[in-house]
């Protein structure tokens, strides 16, 4: 039933002259979640940024539902269906919470059975943000910024969510809720997601597949269940302690 949504082939990218990613390939089906794991500095963020068009791409291809994403400028990728939550959140600091959402919002895509994501829907999901609607970006607590970053990606009504450490700085109970919400959105609304996390167990539980990066290359790729069932393998891939 579900088609391949994202097809990444032999992707290499980096910053300036430095190449960080080498020949990365992966694919993701519609309505599924991919856990992107790896030690520190292995290129997870770089991969996410590359999908969003914020790095310098040296080779390879990215296709989203048949569209050659790698040929599009950064701002055109959002229209093509990418919703990005950058690692440092990057809330627009001179906009209010509401403006942060409305400035980037896009109408939902036609044909979807589910209600489109609007600022109102985001406020329902994070009531905290509704209370802080008129605060400027800088006047939010760390966790509130994280919620806003997620909400801001959702109102783009993307087909693919890129979540870069979305749980950092969130209270445990919100972490739980957010994970549940992501699982629900992908399951019910056919959204796909790539999630980067420091705590693999938390996201493997809600993911379908998993990719592990090391030094900019894919060193493991399989189903999330398999990986979750093999703690020793996980340890080996991710090294230290976990």
């Amino acid at each position: 039933m579900s088609d391949v949504l994202l097809q990444v082939e032999k992707l290499s990218a980096g910053y300036g002259e430095a190449v960080v990613l080498h020949d990365v390939s992966l694919s993701l089906r519609e309505g599924q979640t991919l856990a992107l794991l790896g030690r520190n500095g292995t290129g997870k963020t770089t991969l996410m940024n590359t999908l969003a068009g914020a790095t310098r791409q040296h080779g390879g291809s990215i296709r989203l539902a048949g569209i050659a994403l790698h040929k599009l400028a950064s701002h055109e990728r959002a229209a093509a269906g990418i919703g990005w939550v950058p690692q440092e959140r990057n809330i627009f600091k001179s906009l209010t919470v509401d403006e942060n959402l409305t400035a980037v919002a896009r109408p939902g895509r036609g044909g979807s059975k589910h209600p489109a994501w609007t600022p109102e829907r985001v406020y329902q999901m994070f009531p905290r943000l509704a209370e802080r609607k008129n605060n400027l970006g800088t006047q939010l607590s760390g966790g509130e910024q994280q919620m806003l970053a997620v909400g801001r990606a959702l109102v783009l009504n993307p087909r693919l969510l890129l979540l870069d450490e979305p749980l950092e700085g969130l209270a445990p109970i919100i972490v739980e809720e957010l994970l549940r919400a992501i699982a629900r959105i992908t399951r019910e609304e056919g959204l796909s997601a790539i999630i980067v996390e420091q705590h693999p167990q938390a996201i493997l539980a809600i993911s379908h597949s998993a990719v592990v990066l090391d030094r900019g290359t894919v060193v493991h790729s399989g189903t999330a269940q398999d990986l979750r069932a093999q703690p020793e393998l996980l340890d080996k891939l991710l090294g230290v302690a976990r």
């Binding site: 940024n49 969003a52 068009g53 914020a54 400028a73 950064s74 701002h75 055109e76 990728r77 959002a78 229209a79 990418i82 990005w84 950058p86 990057n90 627009f92 600091k93 001179s94 906009l95 403006e99 942060n100 409305t102 400035a103 980037v104 896009r106 400027l136 970006g137 800088t138 006047q139 801001r152 990606a153 783009l156």
Partner: protein
């Protein structure tokens, strides 16, 4: 004295039209463009040339002045200004002052250093007087015209910035270009159009101001202080701030010179300092934001 109030308002509004473009580039784009006056000068000279050489009617010259300056702004934005956005403010100052110097000398070379004078059409020249309960109100038609243009502009700008998403998209792009682009905002277009409109407004201001303020190649340097005052006092985060600041300064300047002519420039500067010490972020800045 109503006439004085009227003159002050007209003068303030003229300052506003001249400075509002700067409020846009400086406040919204966070770019210190001291060459703003140069665009105003281009607008002024466009009008002078069109009227003197081609006998174009004044009212037609105004939009043309806007277009010429705006176009020039767009071209310069693409070619020179763009790499400057990410530079430190001091580099921006140096760069834009350099451009101003060049513009001043170039204008001098092509147009000569003397004051340019335009002849307004007859219907803008006169003056109407009314007897009101509060005394005689004399309104110069041209000043009335300035007020009308300025009011229309304010409404239009306010609409664009508040009612459309353009304002917030622009600020988003300024805050973080990379992420704004990643979230679907076409940063280049946003900057280009903003800069062009800012320059165009300067050009319009220059065209309107030629009659009242005079026009010679030193215009950009002579009036730089006034632009800065309006923007600093008004704050840079809205359109109404600079408008009110310009009105306040215009009225204070005119009334001060009328009632206490001996104090000359004191009034404006002291008022400015007092306001800035009292409200360091400008009179009407957005609340909060400690920086």
């Amino acid at each position: 004295m109503l006439t004085i109030l009227f003159d002050g308002i007209a003068y303030g509004m003229l300052l506003f039209v001249l400075a509002v473009g700067l409020a846009v580039t400086m406040g919204l784009m966070n770019f210190i463009n001291l060459a703003h006056g140069a665009f105003a000068m281009v607008g002024g000279y466009t009008t002078v040339l069109l009227m003197q050489r081609l006998q174009v009617p004044f009212l037609v010259c105004l939009p043309l002045a806007f277009l010429v300056s705006g176009l020039l702004g767009a071209v310069l934005e693409r070619t020179l200004y763009r790499p400057m956005y990410r530079r430190p403010h001091l580099d921006q100052v140096l760069f834009s002052i350099g451009l101003t110097f060049m513009a001043v000398a170039a204008m001098d070379y092509f147009m000569g250093s003397s004051q340019q004078i335009i002849q307004l059409p007859a219907y803008l020249k006169g003056r109407s007087e009314f007897d009101t309960p509060l005394g005689l109100l004399g309104m110069g038609h041209y000043r009335l015209f300035i007020i009308a243009v300025c009011a229309a502009l304010t409404v239009a700008l306010q609409f664009i910035l508040a009612r459309t998403r353009f304002g917030s998209r622009l600020r988003a792009a300024v805050d973080d270009q990379r992420v704004a682009a990643g979230l679907g905002i076409n940063v280049n277009i946003v900057f280009l159009s903003t800069f062009a409109v800012g320059s165009g407004l300067a050009g319009l201001g220059g065209a309107l101001g030629t009659e009242v303020l005079g026009l010679d190649p030193t215009f950009p340097l002579k009036f730089m202080i006034y632009f800065l005052i309006v923007v600093a006092v008004g704050g840079t985060s809205s359109i109404t701030g600079p408008l009110l600041a310009a009105l306040l300064l215009g009225i204070a300047d005119v009334a001060g010179k009328y009632y206490v002519p001996k104090l000359g420039g004191f009034i404006v500067y002291s008022l400015m300092i007092a306001i800035l010490i009292w409200r360091p972020h400008g009179l009407f800045s957005r609340l909060g934001g400690k920086s």
